[in-house]
């Protein structure tokens, strides 16, 4: 698409108009977006076309429509985090990823729905209503980046960005049948990403194909002095290594996160994982089951650590400098009234949980202990990567569940993140690749995990899986 626009074979305007038509037709049913920027997108596309006509090269994503999760700051365009507390707030600056997309010639067509402040696994926690799975509108798209996943799955955009703190890119990618990548912690600048749990958050791409995801990740990666956690290294070359295959690679299936070791992994998901392993073996890799024992404790540690960091990060929503204010006679009452009215239930739950885990007397029992478990997970992964180049697991224990199915019991919702959380705790990259469907004809995702900076090998395996994946029935 970008090639056609750069060469002048297609106008960026026609590409954007075509996607806006698809959005107009199905968005009312799906609700992937908090806002569609139709006029701005047409204007930006015309500008790209002018530059092509003038003989300039607008960049590797010339004219490609993209969508952004609505927790990334966009100058002059509201950024809500799908929360009442930020409704109407207009950021005075662009996130670094927004600048990099624009510099690459991409056209922003909208900002996508999410679980409020990225806290959730189904996009049902949005203050602005649920997003529906484009493949079956009675099902959730996953979360928290459900809007970004649904926008790609519905054909609204070929590319989008999400953020992943405990699986919020990979799990919705699996549930919507698209590719989703959580890069190495520090590979992509988070300047302008509204913070949830700062030691875990990472921005990454959604795409329909592995090569599109690789191209988008190359565009957004690289050092940024504005993010103190940004790795000072050049971005990895991914697009040129995709066809190198997995001949000679050693790949381990994580026993604790697959059907043999973990209750709750559905039979159809386990079956697809087995077929994916066989496909990698057929392509020349050595694949065997291996134990990474502490990964199974990741979930418990995460649901202490992430809320603890969130309770601190979300203290800034106090009705003073931006967003909602509910008036009250004193400042203290104003803070409480504003936060009570502005935050939804899941955010309140996590703020209270985090406040408790950090409070005097309980700190060692919860927060301190969870940080030690994090060390065990890092050490177990280090041992595993001494023997294997990559690891493999399901992305989500099940295919997409029904809207409303898990909202009453937060713990059952949290359990959907069990396979994705360990990579966040270790700071490692991992990605979800669609691999066939479950018994309900909904997509299954296979997760490829790699050590820090291991994206090139991870993408090579993903490309092999994509080529070997059973065709999905037309949807």
């Amino acid at each position: 698409m970008a090639e056609a626009v750069r060469s002048g074979a297609r106008s960026a305007r026609s590409v954007v108009d075509e996607h806006l038509d698809v959005i107009a037709a199905r968005e009312p049913e799906i609700h992937a977006f908090n806002v569609v920027l139709a006029d701005e997108a047409r204007f930006a596309a015309d500008e790209i076309d002018r530059r092509v006509a003038a003989g300039e090269d607008p960049g590797p994503l010339a004219g490609v429509p993209v969508a952004l999760k609505d927790n990334m700051c966009t100058r002059g365009i509201p950024t809500t985090c799908s929360s009442r507390i930020l409704e109407g707030w207009i950021p005075p600056y662009d996130a670094t990823v927004v600048e990099r997309l624009a510099a690459a010639g991409a056209v922003l067509v909208g900002k996508t729905n999410l679980d409020e402040f990225a806290m959730g696994s189904s996009t049902e926690n949005s203050a602005f209503g649920v997003t529906r799975n484009p493949l079956d509108t009675t099902k959730v798209p996953g979360g928290s980046s459900g809007g970004s996943a649904a926008a790609v799955a519905a054909g609204f955009v070929p590319l989008s960005l999400g953020s992943d703190t405990g699986g919020s890119i990979r799990q919705p990618a699996a549930l919507c049948g698209v590719v989703g990548v959580k890069p190495t912690y520090g590979a992509v600048s988070r300047y302008g990403l509204v913070a949830f749990a700062s030691s875990l958050d990472q921005i990454g791409p959604f795409a329909r194909t592995v090569s599109d995801a690789a191209l988008l990740l190359e565009v957004i990666s690289g050092h940024d002095p504005l993010d103190s956690t940004s790795i000072p290294a050049a971005p990895a070359d991914l697009t040129s290594v995709l066809d190198r295959g997995v001949e000679g690679m050693r790949i381990g299936i994580i026993e604790e996160l697959s059907g043999d070791g973990l209750e709750g992994i559905a039979g159809d998901v386990q079956a697809r994982l087995g077929e994916a392993a066989a496909a990698l073996e057929a392509a020349g890799a050595t694949v065997e089951t291996t134990s990474v024992p502490s990964t199974v404790y990741g979930l418990s540690a995460y649901y202490v650590l992430a809320p603890a960091e969130a309770s601190s990060n979300l203290a800034r929503y106090d009705g003073v400098r931006f967003g909602l204010r509910v008036d009250a006679p004193t400042s203290g009452d104003m803070h409480t009234a504003t936060r009570t009215a502005g935050f939804g239930d899941e955010v309140k739950r996590r703020i209270m949980l985090g406040t408790y885990a950090l409070s005097a007397g309980y700190y060692d029992a919860y927060y301190g202990k969870s940080q030690k478990v994090r060390t065990l997970i890092v050490e177990d992964f280090a041992r595993a990567y001494g023997r294997y180049d990559l690891l493999l697991s399901p992305t989500s224990p099940t295919t997409a569940f029904s809207i409303g199915e898990k909202t009453a019991d937060p713990m059952t919702m949290y359990l959907t993140d069990v396979c994705t959380i360990p990579s966040n705790l270790a700071g490692h990259p991992s990605m979800s690749v669609p691999f066939g469907v479950g018994d309900d004809s909904m997509p299954v995702g296979v997760q490829v995990l790699a050590p820090a900076m291991g994206e090139p090998a991870m993408f090579r395996a993903a490309a092999v899986l994509e080529a070997a994946a059973p065709p999905r029935a037309a949807s």
């Binding site: 106090d318 009250a328 006679p329 004193t330 203290g332 209270m352 030690k372 065990l376 890092v378 705790l425």
Partner: protein, 88 residues
């Protein structure tokens, strides 16, 4: 806890949250099975060290633009209700 987190809850909410939070903390008790006596805590996945940048003036935010986002402003300052006084 709600008070510490500057949230106010109705009785019904209090009851529901209490049950749900207890459930989550029960799950976290799984970690008691591990021997963590000699394990160092990890706060962050990267071995970060402090760095210094050249002392060069870069672009800064526009004051009026930042103040425009605030609920209430007076004389280029954020305005809040009295900090001391009768609480409700």
């Amino acid at each position: 806890m709600a008070e510490l987190a500057r949230l106010s809850l109705t009785d019904d909410e209090l009851e529901a949250f209490t049950v749900q939070l207890a459930d989550i903390l029960d799950h976290a008790a799984d970690l008691d099975a591990l021997d963590l006596a000699d394990v160092a805590p990890t706060a962050h996945p990267l071995p970060l060290v402090n760095v210094f940048r050249a002392d060069v003036i870069g672009p800064t935010s526009d004051r009026d633009e930042v103040l425009a986002a605030a609920p209430e402003v007076e004389d280029a300052q954020f305005k809040v209700p009295p900090v001391l006084g009768e609480s409700r």
